[in-house]
């Protein structure tokens, strides 16, 4: 409490709002075309989710983010309970269950868990001396590992890896020693064969198919091939809104969700696709800038968590639909269809705005 004279909290970071707002706008525009033959009501639903997300974001930005960090243990515990419920429901129903239905709405608790994990890690890591001790790394690793494991059991490999990304980004920013980073890379490489055994058959197939799409030309390989054709055929300016043949001829599976970016590539071409990448870059830039301008370690770490999470998802999703990375089912933040992801994404950005507004005064 260094400021005895009450300074008015600064306003919101405009470029960040612009980037997020434009991404959500693009989501609506692309979705309208992508689900025209699939289920047109998705567009209205998505608009509703965006509205709710913006409200949540404003609410988060209006007060100090430290409140969230103070409450992060409850948030985290709640998210774990929800994840456990979903994991249990999944075992009972003999299938992949990622949703909880509450009052007719499906809630995807893994999205909530991402935010909760970032908050709880910010709280914990901010209190640790640097460079981080092995003990700190293990404890923080367990904090991120529990939700990662529960999500992995759903089974949802892609979302599970996001927790690892959040943890990695945050421990690096918190002050992990260089030696530990190198050791971790070595250990990670060594563990790969072990991880292979923990995967479901269809997940292994997806990874193999990534190496050779013709292994499963009807399933996962088909998706990659068709998605690449869609993006590539967009050329410089795209085929135009509502004019993508890959889209309308049903060549693109999951095109409202994980593969919405291929519809953008097909219909808006290089110009549109690069614009989305640029907006993601802007998001990364503004969030990291807010984080580094904040003297409060909790705020800086939370910003690091949010950026590792959203940035990682963006790179993985776009890389996947372009055939650069294996298909692991990660949505494009603020763009892909999905209510939980949209609302939680906007809430996280609201928290970043709160760091911007209140972080300097703490």
């Amino acid at each position: 409490m260094m400021s005895a004279t009450r300074v008015r909290a600064p306003g919101l970071d405009r470029p960040l709002i612009a980037a997020a707002g434009l991404l959500s706008l693009i989501s609506i525009v692309a979705l309208a075309s992508a689900c025209a033959t699939l289920n047109p009501s998705l567009t209205t639903k998505q608009a509703m989710w965006i509205g709710l997300g913006v409200l949540m974001g404003l609410a988060a930005a209006s007060g100090p983010y430290t409140r969230w960090i103070d409450l992060s243990l409850f948030l985290y515990a709640g998210a774990l309970v929800l994840l456990a419920v979903v994991a249990l429901a999944g075992t009972i129903k003999l299938g992949a269950a990622r949703w909880l239905t509450i009052f007719g709405f499906s809630l995807q608790p893994s999205e909530l868990a991402k935010l909760a994990t970032a908050c709880v890690l910010a709280r914990y890591l901010a209190a640790q001396p640097t460079p981080l001790s092995v003990r700190t790394l293990v404890i923080s690793g367990v904090l991120a590992g529990v939700p990662a494991l529960l999500v992995f059991l759903q089974p949802d490999l892609g979302s599970s890896s996001i927790f690892v990304a959040i943890w990695l980004g945050m421990v690096i920013v918190a002050g992990m020693s260089r030696r530990h980073v190198l050791m971790m890379i070595a250990a990670g490489t060594a563990l790969c064969p072990l991880a292979w055994h923990g995967l479901k058959d269809y997940q292994r197939l997806r990874l193999l198919v990534f190496l050779n799409p013709h292994l499963d030309p009807l399933g996962a390989g088909y998706t990659i091939i068709q998605s690449q054709i869609a993006i590539g055929s967009g050329q410089l300016l795209g085929r135009g809104w509502f004019a993508g043949t890959q889209n309308y001829l049903n060549f693109l599976p999951e095109r409202h969700a994980d593969f919405l970016y291929s519809v953008i590539g097909e219909e808006w071409g290089f110009a549109g696709s690069v614009f989305v990448v640029v907006l993601c870059g802007m998001l990364v830039w503004r969030v990291s800038r807010i984080g580094s301008l904040t003297p409060d370690p909790q705020g800086r770490l939370l910003a690091a968590g949010v950026i590792s999470w959203l940035g990682y998802q963006a790179v993985i999703n776009m890389g996947m639909v372009m055939g650069l990375l294996p298909v692991v089912g990660v949505p494009l933040p603020l763009v892909s269809y999905g209510g939980s992801a949209m609302v939680v994404g906007w809430t996280a950005l609201g928290l970043v705005q709160s760091i911007h507004r209140f972080g300097t005064r703490l």
Partner: protein, 574 residues
């Protein structure tokens, strides 16, 4: 350590820059080639649906099977003269051209996507359309596998139906290769066993040239057929019982069990529905099923909870004998009513039955006797006797079921306890629970868990789970004697179930409902009485007296059990 955030930022920016490079490579450098691929649509996916597993009865008769179906569709952009085409097609498929025109507009979405005109035509018709394809530009015949139920509506409420997957459930099914076009189980066993019944669709990815001729097969995956399921159901018996309900247009339910194992031989719920209406998406027929006020989709045997009425009396009797509040020789006077507190409870026979022993009270279904027994037992002991039978709880049935209702925590007054003892008042049971009760009396006091899936593919999965009640066989003999008298004595309330071919023991029940004068009618029983092979419960909704339709149906069931299927019996699968 602030610079570490820049490190993170730089890492992500490098990733994003790589994406831009990749985009430039794909869209700018090789864009034309990709555009070519997209335009010519050289890759075509020719799906090949996997046949769904069969559902067979215990004798191997087919209850559900897969059938090839021919669908007539139209590709809007390829139709030259719509009127002329419809006029020519109409007589071939036996649909007025105007109706075809209407369906065309109803189902069309995009110029190049086929719109369905007739969802199923016989093979000869399909061939005739194929032959005439030059005169019918834009008309295509597509082959699809659909679900067929050779016995029609037999066991429909148990089997359930298939249909396109629920859009909300689709995301969870996707990792298992389910597409929105596929048929998945939406109700009943089709839904409960969907993971086993559903195969994995296959197909070929082919490359075609500019005139749509196949150039080469890029990839192929064999469809994997679903597993067959063998049920414990006896389709002949099932159809026979359904025929009884059908003949009298009597809504109700019936469950026939093997008392020693809990195998369900028949589970009837009437009215039923035609499950093929869902498999072939006949909108009109489906709407009719949904709108039917008699709820044909509901499986009354497991999802209907009813007041049991007098069929509970054998259980009250067993509880009383076990608790020692009466013996076989205890006589209770029935003056036609019983006064509890200041209320008078009447027997159904207002003139009174006179002095009654347990056997006589069962035979005459004397209410006063059992109300008095209930009063002597008291709420605790009566309730624990009923709870021991599993009332108020699920039986452990394969699918969803109602638990019924038993007042566990509520304090009842003496009059309510007396009513409970004769099956009126605060208690609801399902026909399945009633059949389990009949089975327990038939099998020396074991509460069996009813089951219906005998085998999945080659694997036997049916197991008997039973819980002993520890009933003394001397007491059981008394109750069974009373139940024999119900059917076999001329004065018994279930005399219509008497058969000269097999000795049947049973109990009738008539349960008051909110519609005055239209009580639910019940019959529970087992046969042959000396060494029971089956136990059953028959329920007729608002069916009057348990001695009428339910008792008569029980007789038909029991006689069918002792009579081997005559060769003249129409074989169910044609």
């Amino acid at each position: 350590m602030t610079d570490r955030l820049f490190l993170l930022r730089r890492g992500l920016m490098v990733g994003l820059a790589l994406l831009v490079l990749r985009l430039a490579f794909m869209q700018l450098a090789h864009g034309a080639a990709y555009r070519h691929l997209a335009d010519n649509n050289r890759l075509r996916l020719v799906p090949q649906a996997a046949p769904r597993g069969l559902i067979l009865d215990r004798e191997g008769r087919q209850l559900a099977t897969s059938r090839s179906q021919f669908r007539v569709a139209v590709i809007p952009q390829e139709v030259a003269n719509r009127r002329a085409t419809m006029k020519r097609l109409g007589p071939l498929v036996d649909v007025p051209p105007g109706e075809l025109d209407w369906r065309f507009d109803e189902d069309r979405s995009l110029p190049f996507l086929p719109a369905t005109l007739v969802s199923s035509v016989p093979k000869p018709v399909a061939l005739r359309i194929e032959e005439a394809h030059l005169d019918l530009p834009g008309i295509v015949v597509e082959q699809a596998i659909t679900r067929a139920y050779p016995l029609g509506s037999v066991a429909a409420t148990l089997l359930g139906y298939v249909g396109p997957p629920d859009p909300d459930a689709l995301p969870a099914l996707k990792p298992y290769g389910v597409t929105p076009e596929e048929l998945v189980g939406r109700a009943g066993l089709e839904q409960a066993l969907d993971a086993y019944l559903r195969g994995r669709a296959g197909g070929s990815l082919i490359e075609v040239n500019h005139v749509a001729r196949q150039v080469r097969v890029v990839g192929h995956r064999e469809p994997v057929a679903g597993q067959s399921v063998i049920l414990t159901i006896d389709a002949r018996l099932q159809a026979l019982i359904e025929g009884q309900f059908q003949q009298h247009q009597q809504p109700g339910a019936c469950v026939v069990l093997k008392p020693d194992t809990g195998e369900v031989l028949a589970m009837v719920s009437f009215p039923a529905f035609d499950p093929e209406a869902f498999a072939t998406q006949q909108r009109g027929a489906i709407q009719q099923i949904f709108r039917d006020p008699r709820s044909p989709l509901m499986n009354r045997a497991t999802d209907g909870a009813y007041l049991p009425g007098s069929i509970i009396k054998p259980l009250t009797a067993m509880t009383a004998l076990e608790q020692g509040v009466v013996t076989a020789d205890t006589t209770i006077q029935c003056p036609g009513f019983l006064t509890i507190g200041n209320r008078k409870f009447h027997c159904w026979n207002r003139d009174g039955h006179g002095p009654m022993t347990l056997r006589e009270a069962l035979r005459a279904s004397c209410n006063v006797y059992f109300m008095e027994v209930g009063r002597r037992l008291g709420q605790e002991r009566l309730r624990s006797g009923f709870a021991g039978m599993g009332f108020g709880r699920r039986t452990g049935w394969t699918m969803e079921e109602q638990a019924g209702y038993l007042p566990l925590r509520v304090r009842l007054n003496e009059g309510e306890v007396a009513l409970l003892a004769m099956g009126q008042g605060d208690i609801l049971i399902t026909p399945l629970q009633a059949a389990v009760m009949a089975a327990a009396i038939a099998n020396q006091g074991w509460v069996v868990e009813p089951w219906v899936v005998k085998a999945l593919g080659e694997v036997e999965v049916g197991h008997t789970h039973a819980r002993p009640l520890g009933w003394s066989s001397a007491h059981l003999a008394i109750v069974r004697e009373g139940m024999l008298a119900v059917v076999n004595d001329p004065e018994g309330t279930g005399a219509r179930a008497k058969s000269d071919r097999v000795r049947i023991a049973g109990k009738t029940g008539t349960a008051q409902t909110h519609i005055q004068g239209h009580p639910h009618a019940w019959f529970i029983g087992f046969c042959p009485a000396e060494n029971p092979a089956i136990a059953m419960a028959v329920l007729a909704e608002h069916g009057g007296s348990g001695g009428d339709f339910p008792a008569a149906t029980a007789k038909v069931i029991c006689e069918a059990i002792v009579t081997p299927a005559a060769p003249a019996d129409p074989p169910p699968n044609g």
